[in-house]
Amino acid sequence: MNKYEKYIRYQTFPTPWCPGCGDGIVLKSIAMAFSDLDIDPNDIIVVAGIGCSGRMPTFFNTNTLHTTHGRALTFATGVKLSRPDKLVVVISGDGDALAIGGNHLIHAARRNIGIKMILINNGVYGMTGGQVSPLTPQKFVTETTPYGNIEPKFHPAELLIAARATFVARETVNRTIQLKEVIKKSFQHKGFSVVEAISNCHINLGRKNNMKNPVKMAKWIAERTVTKAQFEKMTPAERDHKYPVGILQENTDRYEYSELYHKHIVTAAKESAKKNKKK
């Protein structure tokens, strides 16, 4: 048995994912990050919403919570505030996090609550059969954009930075070692963190866009992967089709929310109560 397998709940296998899906790589990367940091499985909770990504917690041999569509962050907020000592991980897809759960995402970022989010971006609603998502590239054909997608996609990193996120990173399922390493770094960050993992859905997105082979889709992702330095030299038009990878934002100055609550608010409230008693 490999060391990371301690974090895998084999009883719940098989996974519902299609052959060649990137979700398996993300699953293993997270388990390996747990293992590298040697965290007790009982001190970890993995929370997810709905979709292909939403099924991932079931396969971790940690505390796991499969919630409602887009709202994993809200459950995780309750857990983190109650138990600041635990590692709270949220796994979300692009539709889950940025469409139905967009509001929760920006507020979790603004609060800087110490939740570690892994945002799996495959650019489509996979589990429901391939409908357009807020991260589907323009012109792409999906089940609900049969004539091509006319909506521009979000830039999740820019959105999160504007929402005051303190740790934002991006990797792709092609770069497995880097993906694991950046997930590990995000786990060590004190506040809210998001690692966007670009993944392939060759079945429900690639198939309709001349990429039904997972290797072809992996290549398509690779062609769009650039370093942060390369990305910064590009024009806005060029940038729209590229994914800069690595740590895109890291700010360690701000307090984590539950720490701030318990250190600042609770202390201030107790002092105020004492003063009122003296009066």
Binding site: L65, T74, R83
Partner: protein, 375 residues
């Protein structure tokens, strides 16, 4: 020593929650329930307990569920529009069997309706608001001391049956400042859960009719909690045999114990020929009306349910053996009257007094209705 005070209804709820040991509140501001959150935002930090204002009511209940699963005793408070938004997570809490208390201070509806006026129009929403078959417990105090005791009872029932409990309040009762005697700590009966040692992942394993044991995260054995239909391990399944068993486990845990859950008050019912069925602020007016009608020599009594759901069917059917007239008074276009029709035999005459314009009934209006009913 018990304390005699003049307090607002919403504050009585908050004080009772503190006494019950509630240590987590997540909410979103909404008229006419905001005072619950305001009061706890000041009190909870002083006690080292958690308070958070979330970005909406959906997330408020989400945070409550997360906290409840982490071992906290949780509360949220809202009103109609917010309660509508909470239906999604109310269903989750039922499905995953999570104890929590939701206060719904009812206001005029539908939609944003009349925010500052009372209404009793969420009766059916509390029963069937979230999709799918589900068990639910709904309590409805009418008098200030009942607000305190029913809040305590709401926490006790939610923890005993591992189910969300909804506490209904009328806008006028929640906003009014009234005299109340807050009981001494030793006189408050708090349900103490058995400490459950989780030995395996088979957390939902039990027989139909049995109470579920409390299971929390971080108790030494990593468990799975799911909003999908699940087997006894909590793992998702669509197996019809398992789904059937789990549906029954959830429904029966409430219906099996309904005698323990259902509570009601009766006034002047001994020799009554007419029964007034009223709850919340309508029950207050109805009590005065019953007294007035009695002065006129009309044999009338009041049945005031404290538990709305499960519905006090057995108790009513017992009374229908003697009483052949029932007047249902509710501030809506007719909701509980259907439940009365459902549980009453054909030889019972049914009359209603209904209104949904934000103005509570006066005792005089109810007396008039009682008089007409004697003819």
């Amino acid at each position: 020593m018990s304390e005699r005070k003049v307090l607002q209804g919403n504050i009585i709820v908050a004080k009772a929650a503190i006494s019950a040991g509630c240590n987590f509140f997540a909410g979103y501001p909404i008229t006419p329930s905001s005072e619950v959150a305001q009061y706890l935002s000041k009190e909870f930090p002083q006690m080292g307990r958690d308070f958070i204002q979330m970005e909406d009511e959906i997330s408020a209940l989400g945070a409550c569920i997360g906290a409840s699963l982490s071992g906290k005793k949780v509360l949220t408070a809202t009103s109609g529009p917010g309660f509508s938004l909470m239906q999604e997570h109310l269903g989750f809490a039922v499905m995953a069997e999570i104890p929590l208390v939701i206060v719904n201070v009812m206001r005029g509806g539908p939609s944003t309706g009349i925010p500052t006026k009372p209404s009793q129009a969420d009766m059916m929403q509390t029963r069937w608001g979230t999709h799918g078959d589900h068990p639910i417990i709904v309590l409805y105090p009418a008098f200030s001391d009942e607000i305190f005791s029913e809040t305590i009872r709401a926490f006790n029932l939610s923890e005993k049956f591992w189910n969300p409990v909804i506490l209904l309040l009328d806008e006028v009762i929640a906003k009014a400042h009234e005299d109340i005697e807050i009981p001494e700590k030793k006189d408050i009966n708090i349900y103490k859960e058995k400490v459950n040692v989780i030995k395996d992942l088979n957390i939902y394993d039990r027989n139909i009719g049995e109470n579920p044991p409390r299971v929390d995260f971080f108790k030494g054995y990593p468990i799975h909690i799911d909003g999908l239909e699940h087997d006894s391990h909590g793992w998702p399944t669509s197996d019809p045999v398992i789904a059937d068993k789990m549906q029954n486990l959830r429904m029966q845990k409430i219906y099996h114990y309904q005698d323990e859950i259902i509570k009601f008050n009766e006034y002047h019912m001994e020799d009554a020929e007419i029964m007034v069925f009223a709850f919340g602020v309508s029950a207050r007016a109805a009590l005065n009306a019953v007294k007035e009608a009695r002065d006129e020599g009309i044999k009338v009594g009041l049945f005031q349910p404290l538990t709305i759901w499960p519905f006090p069917k057995k108790a009513l059917q017992e009374r229908f053996k003697k009483i052949k007239k029932i007047l249902t008074v509710e501030m809506n276009m007719g909701q509980i009257k259907y439940e009365i029709e459902r549980v009453s035999p054909d030889d019972v005459k049914k009359k209603t007094l209904l209104r949904a314009n934000g103005i509570p009934f006066t005792p005089k209006e109810i007396v008039n209705s009682i008089r007409e009913f004697t003819k």
